[in-house]
Symmetry: C2
Subunit: 540 residues, 2 copies
Amino acid sequence: MKTYRDILKWGNKEEISIDEGTRRVIQDKLGYDDSYFETKHLAGDEEVSLSNSNQIATEIQKKLTDIVGQENISTQADVLVAHAYGKSYPELLKLRKGIVNTPPDMVIYPRTEEEIIQIVEICHQQKIAITPYGGQSSVTGGVETLKGGISLDMTRYFNKVLNVNENNCTATVQAGMFGPAYEAYLNEYGDKYTCGHFPQSFEYSTVGGWVAAKGAGQASTAYGKIEDMVLSLKAITPKGVIETKTYPASAQGWDIHPLFIGSEGSLGIITQITLKIRKYRPQNTKHASFIFKDFKTAVEAMRTTMQAGVGRPHMFRISDPEETDVAFKTKQFDGTLADKFLNMKGYKTEKRCLMFVAVEGDKAYTSQVVSSVKKINKKFGGFSLGSKPTKKWLEQRYSSAYMREPMMDLAVMTDTLETAVMWDDLLNLWEAVRSYLKSKEKTVVMIHISHVYENGANLYFTFLSPMKKGKELEEFKEYHKGLINTIIAHKGSLSHHHGVGKALAPWMEKELGTESLELMRAIKKHLDPHGIMNPGTLGL
Amino acid sequence: MKTYRDILKWGNKEEISIDEGTRRVIQDKLGYDDSYFETKHLAGDEEVSLSNSNQIATEIQKKLTDIVGQENISTQADVLVAHAYGKSYPELLKLRKGIVNTPPDMVIYPRTEEEIIQIVEICHQQKIAITPYGGQSSVTGGVETLKGGISLDMTRYFNKVLNVNENNCTATVQAGMFGPAYEAYLNEYGDKYTCGHFPQSFEYSTVGGWVAAKGAGQASTAYGKIEDMVLSLKAITPKGVIETKTYPASAQGWDIHPLFIGSEGSLGIITQITLKIRKYRPQNTKHASFIFKDFKTAVEAMRTTMQAGVGRPHMFRISDPEETDVAFKTKQFDGTLADKFLNMKGYKTEKRCLMFVAVEGDKAYTSQVVSSVKKINKKFGGFSLGSKPTKKWLEQRYSSAYMREPMMDLAVMTDTLETAVMWDDLLNLWEAVRSYLKSKEKTVVMIHISHVYENGANLYFTFLSPMKKGKELEEFKEYHKGLINTIIAHKGSLSHHHGVGKALAPWMEKELGTESLELMRAIKKHLDPHGIMNPGTLGL
């Protein structure tokens, strides 16, 4: 039998530990002495156990088993618990505390679309909840099975590329395929392609999850968010199967497929998606990095590039002063000769900001874009640090998510939130969120921009703070609530790419307005009249 | 009192006549002798008259008049007739024949959103149809008042820019503002901007119309279709007012504003829109033109550019061999020394194809893109013709629409249709449509690509053919039906940017599938329970 800690793991990945640089930051900023590093807070070493009984009637269980076969159904406690939660901080806390109030009654691994149609039909008739399940990396409670029922795990069978069309530059892929498998397939196919979508969760997220949660990858500034890549899709809803046609564009009423992008399982189960793919030419990619004297100037330089008509970087990031400082500290850069040189030049500790740039494509294009960015940055006092810092960052770009477990072992509350905001409101919002997050003592607040548009950008917030032991959940709930309210009050969107799930659902009416939310509910009502699809998500 | 011919006019524009080159083409290809040019077929010189009586009850008329004032309401026959139709070939024919079966009962020019809310409320209660009306340039029956009722003319008062935000690069504009006024405003504003949206109808279309019909402009290949420019909008529906927030991107469920893009007035009245705007730097624009040995090679070169990661032209066009020939003939280029030179070089009459390229933005970018396109074209045997042909084409880019009146005077059936198609299916579709259109004797068929994507392109069909005098409407209906069926059978979309209106509505179920159309109907039902909004449009 597995322990709760086993379930905290990312797939088969070995747990990682805190490196020396990060330990230094935690000790300095959170005031942790060596004793903190000796024991694990809420280690979750207990064996998984569930007291809930299966709420699905025996004859229905039998029907479902007949559809997919005994081997593709599970009611084992550790499997149910592994499907009860995603990866948000409160979900991880609950696992560590052994709190699993609403596990799914069954986990089903469907083999075919025909089987899903049958399962949905039965659940629709019986009013049994279905929550589609992919890589489990949701940080908004997206896969939490609030009403039990069935967790429909798409990863066992719906994990293939169905078609690559090199002329069209498209791939049709099943929803349960993981990012690395999809990308590896494309990298090797024909003239070699890339999916162009690399969210932080890349290694443990699926194509269907990207679409359902409306994700964004680290190359989104040029390739777009996932909604800019999807050309068509197929979804199985309680009302029937919706399959849209694949066109480069059209004008035949409003499009149907975008309704499923960001639907987070609330309308039906996405089974396959046709996406844009791009030529994979890593040898042409150009990297650059810069340091600016302050955040405002860095943001102005970034905005200028985005609106200048010079093409655009694929990856385009700015770390705010505190994130820059932490990055320097963890890399043990502070106090070096280079650090002294930068300070002397006016790039002062606690003010300066790092910018990372990577451009993909044809050689002539990547050279022109990097050179245009350099020219613009120079005007804003940006100092070039060469290509290395960006390359180094890219090497470890997925790893920070895996730091959450050792952090939580140290009783560090750590979470990330994000928003999108127009340029005009960005600095205000940044300041307001910093000041809110800093209202909690000894909090490290790291903020960056990582998805950039002509008209605005996202802001991504990471915070570390000592847990209030014994009251971890209550403490987070209140802090989180204040943070969201601060974001909304300062014209940030409820989410830029994490999605809404159950965690942000209570804000949907305030955010969208009653008329828009009612329209969303009418759409859901039409496709899912009994409300069985991922109940609670999006506040529908 | 006005004549039907007055109503055929484009605004206050003088009628144009057939130039020498075009006359030559018509004489050669349609076999017209000089006698055809002496009289006008179906001139429409009769005075407008209507026998219909107003179907709206007197007390309701009074209520409506009280809202907007007597001066902002009209029941005058010529005004009603001018609001009964758009600019599709059968609509123009009907006007010439004096057939106006379902004119609006009243034309109303609302002054404020508050007035529109009141009008919609009354019409909702009384089940009176409302058709929003902008520039009247629809070629799919979009503004045809199939059930009479009210034509809501947005151009008199809703014609202002409400806000330009230079930091955000956005403008908020009222729906009834015409293209040229909007563009002129932006060209003069602050650091100087462009709307980047130049449909063929630009001079006689409104921003609201662009959004409602999901249009595309001639710079769409880089700036996108209108759906790629809209950040948020406000719409008044029978169910209430929907106003969406302005973000650069977000992930809070599926977006609401895209439901109104392409809604063609079927859900409500769009009153204002916030759009992306771009820096206006015409001095940096680079033009280029090329000739290719055949259509297939030209298309391959174009596809290669779009997928190469070299940036992209704003305007990117290919004329197929017949369109190229007609262009050369109307410009009296055929038979010149230059023509002989091209033929000698292997760019043969009836095979060769013109390509036009224009790139906007920063100088470094426009130079790099044009040079990359040249390099690619060279590989495909494209021969550079310099910048002049593209510049000349741009000078007269809106004029071909105005040729329809003198053409129809000559008893020439002339219409345009368009579709979007993936690269893989493009040549097949092109051949099938050509062969279908050529099934009619003495037909000139000109086809071009004018909106280009990584994954495919549009095809735009223009045809000229002698009218079957006395049976013009029946003849067109049958020919049009066969054409749409041919497009759909060969994997083209029902429309790329003209929209669906009433003309293409009968194909919507076949095109979208029953499940998707029912979903659209459910959305309409929620917002417009009595079906008063532009009845018949989109087949809803």
